[in-house]
C-alpha cells in the first residue's frame, strides 16, 4: 500500500499544544506534549477533520509567524486572495487544482453533497443553516462547470442498491447486521481496526463515488463525450472524501470516478476568487438527469438520514405498500447510539444509528461476539452526521456550534418536507437510469459501477 496522503496537518508554527484537538479525535491519531506543537499520524488518522473544526490556535496579524502568509496559503492549497485567519490544524485543499482544471478544455461535471447547501451561505454572512441549493447551482455554473449535477441523485440510487442488498441478505441468511458504507472515515476505521468484520459492510459505493462512476459512463453518453474528456468534481462537507476518491478501488479502467474533491469551505474560496456575490445570485436548478433528487436523498446529510431514507423504500419493497408515515422520527437524533424497531408486515427489523466514531466500538465488539441483535446499522463518523463534517464552514466559538448544527439539521429536514417526492424509489430519473442504462438493482452493470470491495489496512 502506498503511503496515504497527509490530508490533515498541524502547522507547528501556529500550534500552541493546547491539546483540544486530541480530545475530539476519535482514533487517537494526534501526538505531542502539552504546550508543544502537536502532529497528526496519517496512518492512524481517519481524515474526519474534527480537529480542524476544533482548533483555535490561529495566526494573529499582531504577531506574524516566521513563514510568510503567502507560503502558508500555498501549502494549504488556498488562493492568495483569501483573507481569512489561518488556524494550526488544517486540511490540505484542492481548490487551486480545480480552478486550474476549469481553465482547460475538459468537460467538467460537478456534484454537491446534501449538507453543503445548508451551510455554504454561512461563509457569506447568511444566517446559520441557510438553505441555498439554487444559489449554489448558479455559482457552480458561473465558476465554469459544464454540468451541475447532484450527489443527492446518487443518494437515491444508493438507497435502491443498499435496500435491495439488505433484503437479499435477509432472505438468504447472509452476513448480518449490515452496516452502511457511505461515510469514508467509518469505512477506513473498519479496515484499520475491525477488518474481520468487513463482510458486514454494505458493498455499495458511497453516493459520491456512485455519482462519479455514472458521470463517466451514463453522463458522458448523454453529452456524447468520451470518458477521458470528463473532469469529475465533488463538493463535500467531508475532508475524508478526498481520501475516498483517491482509493484505487474507486476507479474503472484507470479512470477515477471522482477526479477532485473540494470541501464546502473550498467552494466558498472558489466563489470569492471568481468575484461572485453569492448572496445576490438567482436560484437555478441542477441539471438533469443526474441532478434530480428526492427528500430522502437529501437527508443523507444528517445522522439517521440514510436509515430513514432506506426504511421509507424498504417498507414499500417488502410490503408493497407505502410507509404509513414518511417522517420516521424514531431514527432521528443527535450524537451517540440509538436503536429502534420497525415492523413490516409480520417481520420486525431492528435498526441502530451511530453518530460519532467513538461510540461504535461496543456495538462492533458485540457483532464480533455474535451477540448483536440488530439487522441494519448506520454509522457516521462526525458527531451530527455530515452537517458537522470537517470541511464545513468552521464555527468560531464552540459555544455556538450546537446551535449552528441544529439550524443546519432543521434546514435539511425542511428541504425534505418541502420536496414533492420524498422516497428514493420514486425519483423519476433514477427509474429512468435503471430502465435505460443500469438494468436492475444489484444487476450486472450496477455491480460493476456502483459496488466495491474493502481491504484490511495496517496502522
Amino acid at each position: 500500500m502506498t503511503k496515504v496522503r497527509e490530508l490533515i496537518k498541524i502547522d507547528p508554527e501556529l500550534c500552541t499544544g493546547c491539546e483540544r484537538c486530541k480530545d475530539v479525535c476519535p482514533v487517537n491519531a494526534i501526538f505531542g506534549k502539552k504546550g508543544e506543537p502537536h502532529r497528526v499520524e496519517s496512518s492512524r488518522c481517519v481524515f474526519c477533520g474534527q480537529c480542524v473544526q476544533t482548533c483555535s490556535g490561529y495566526s494573529s496579524v499582531l504577531d506574524e509567524p516566521e513563514t510568510p502568509r503567502a507560503d502558508k496559503l500555498r501549502e494549504r492549497g488556498m488562493f492568495e486572495s483569501t483573507t481569512e485567519p489561518l488556524f494550526a490544524a488544517y486540511c490540505a485543499g484542492d481548490a487551486l487544482e480545480v480552478a486550474a482544471a476549469l481553465k482547460t478544455d475538459k468537460f467538467s461535471m460537478v456534484q454537491c453533497a446534501p449538507s453543503v447547501r445548508v451551510a455554504i451561505g454561512e461563509d457569506f454572512g447568511m444566517p446559520a443553516g441557510s438553505l441555498t441549493p439554487g444559489k449554489m447551482a448558479a455559482a457552480l455554473r458561473r465558476i465554469g462547470f459544464s454540468r451541475v449535477y447532484d450527489t443527492n441523485f446518487a443518494a437515491d440510487l444508493t438507497i435502491m442498491e443498499e435496500g435491495h442488498e439488505l433484503l437479499a441478505r435477509i432472505s438468504t441468511d447472509a452476513t448480518l447486521p449490515m452496516f452502511t458504507s457511505c461515510c469514508p472515515a467509518w469505512v477506513r476505521f473498519m479496515e484499520q481496526h475491525y477488518s474481520d468484520l468487513l463482510p458486514h459492510l454494505s458493498s455499495c459505493k458511497s453516493p459520491q463515488q456512485m455519482s462519479g462512476a455514472l458521470f463517466k459512463t451514463y453522463g458522458a453518453d448523454i453529452d456524447g463525450k468520451a470518458r477521458e474528456e470528463i473532469y469529475s468534481v465533488a463538493v463535500m462537507p467531508c475532508t475524508c472524501k478526498k481520501y475516498e476518491s483517491a482509493r484505487p478501488e474507486m476507479s474503472m479502467d484507470g479512470y477515477r470516478d471522482v477526479d477532485a474533491v473540494i470541501t464546502t469551505r473550498e467552494l466558498a474560496y472558489l466563489i470569492r476568487e471568481a468575484g461572485i456575490d453569492f448572496t445576490s445570485l438567482p436560484d437555478e436548478d441542477f441539471d438533469r438527469p443526474l441532478g434530480t433528487y428526492t427528500g430522502a436523498g437529501n437527508i443523507f446529510g444528517v445522522t439517521g438520514g440514510v436509515m430513514e431514507a432506506a426504511l421509507r423504500t424498504a417498507y414499500e419493497l417488502v410490503s408493497g405498500e407505502p410507509v404509513p408515515d414518511t417522517d420516521l422520527l424514531f431514527v432521528r437524533g443527535g450524537e451517540g447510539t440509538r436503536t429502534a424497531f420497525i415492523t413490516i408486515e409480520d417481520k420486525t427489523f431492528k435498526v441502530a444509528v451511530v453518530a460519532g466514531l467513538k461510540y461504535v466500538a461496543p456495538l462492533l465488539e458485540k457483532v464480533r461476539a455474535g451477540e448483536a441483535d440488530v439487522d441494519f446499522v448506520e454509522v457516521m463518523c462526525c458527531p451530527s452526521g455530515c452537517i458537522s463534517g470537517g470541511g464545513q464552514p468552521k464555527v468560531l466559538l464552540p459555544t455556538e456550534r450546537d446551535e449552528v448544527y441544529m439550524c443546519r439539521r432543521k434546514s435539511i429536514y425542511s428541504h425534505d418536507k418541502d420536496s414533492k417526492i420524498r422516497k428514493s424509489h420514486e425519483n423519476p430519473d433514477v427509474q429512468k437510469a435503471y430502465a435505460d442504462f443500469l438494468g436492475e438493482p444489484l444487476g450486472h452493470t450496477s455491480h460493476k459501477l456502483l459496488h466495491t470491495t474493502y481491504t484490511k489496512r495496517d496502522i
Partner: protein, 194 residues
C-alpha cells in the same frame, strides 16, 4: 457611582492551556459584524487580551483597570476615561499616538486597525520620500479590554474559556470574603484554646 475598586479579569496560569479561544471570543465580542464562521470574517481577529506563551508559563494578559490609570493620565487627547467601572478608550477620539501603550506596565494596550463594513479605514499620512505629497495608511486606535461592559452576558473571554481559567474579580468583595474566612478560621482556632 460606587466608590468601590474597579473590577478586572484575572487568569489562572495553572489552568490555562493556551488555546487562544479567549482571544477569538474577545475579538468577536468587539466586532460589529455578525459573522460566526471563519470564512465569513471580514476583518482579522483583533483581541484585547493576549495569550502569552513562554517555556515557564502560559496565560493571557489584559488590562487591570488601574485605579490611577497611567494610560488615562497620559493620554494627550483625553481619549481614555473611567466609565461604568472600567477604563475605556473612546475609539473616535484616539489619534494613535501610542503614549498609553508605552505607559501601561502590563502591555495591555495594542494599536489596532479600525475596520468598518469589512474594510480598514484609511487615513492620509505624510509621504516618507516626498514631504509635499500624502499617502494612505490604515487608521489605528488603542484597543484594550473594556470588561465587555456593553455585553449582556458579561466578559466574553470568561464565558468561553474551556478550562475556566478566567474570572471577573471584584476586589472589594474578594477582600471582604477573605476577611470573613480569616475571621472564621480565627473562630475555629480560638475554640481550640479553651
Amino acid at each position: 457611582m460606587s466608590s468601590s475598586l474597579s473590577n478586572f479579569i484575572a487568569a489562572d496560569s495553572e489552568k490555562c492551556i493556551g488555546c487562544k479561544l479567549c482571544e477569538i471570543a474577545c475579538s468577536q465580542a468587539h466586532s460589529e459584524s455578525t459573522a460566526f464562521t471563519v470564512g465569513a470574517l471580514t476583518s482579522p481577529i483583533l483581541p484585547r487580551l493576549y495569550v502569552v506563551q513562554t517555556p515557564e508559563i502560559t496565560v493571557p494578559v489584559q488590562c487591570r483597570h488601574c485605579e490611577d490609570a497611567p494610560c488615562a493620565n497620559c493620554c494627550p487627547v483625553s481619549a481614555i476615561s473611567r466609565k461604568n467601572g472600567a477604563i475605556i478608550v473612546e475609539k473616535k477620539l484616539c489619534v494613535g499616538c501610542k503614549t498609553c501603550m508605552l505607559a501601561c506596565p502590563f502591555g495591555a494596550i495594542e494599536l489596532l486597525p479600525v475596520y468598518e463594513n469589512g474594510k480598514p479605514i484609511m487615513q492620509p499620512v505624510l509621504c516618507e520620500e516626498n514631504e509635499s505629497s500624502v499617502d494612505e495608511a490604515p487608521m489605528l486606535f488603542a484597543g484594550k479590554c473594556d470588561l465587555c461592559t456593553d455585553r449582556a452576558k458579561g466578559p466574553a473571554c470568561v464565558e468561553i474559556c474551556p478550562e475556566k481559567a478566567l474570572s471577573l474579580i471584584d476586589p472589594a468583595r474578594m477582600k471582604r470574603d477573605r476577611n470573613i474566612k480569616a475571621a472564621m478560621s480565627f473562630l475555629n482556632t480560638s475554640q481550640n484554646f479553651s
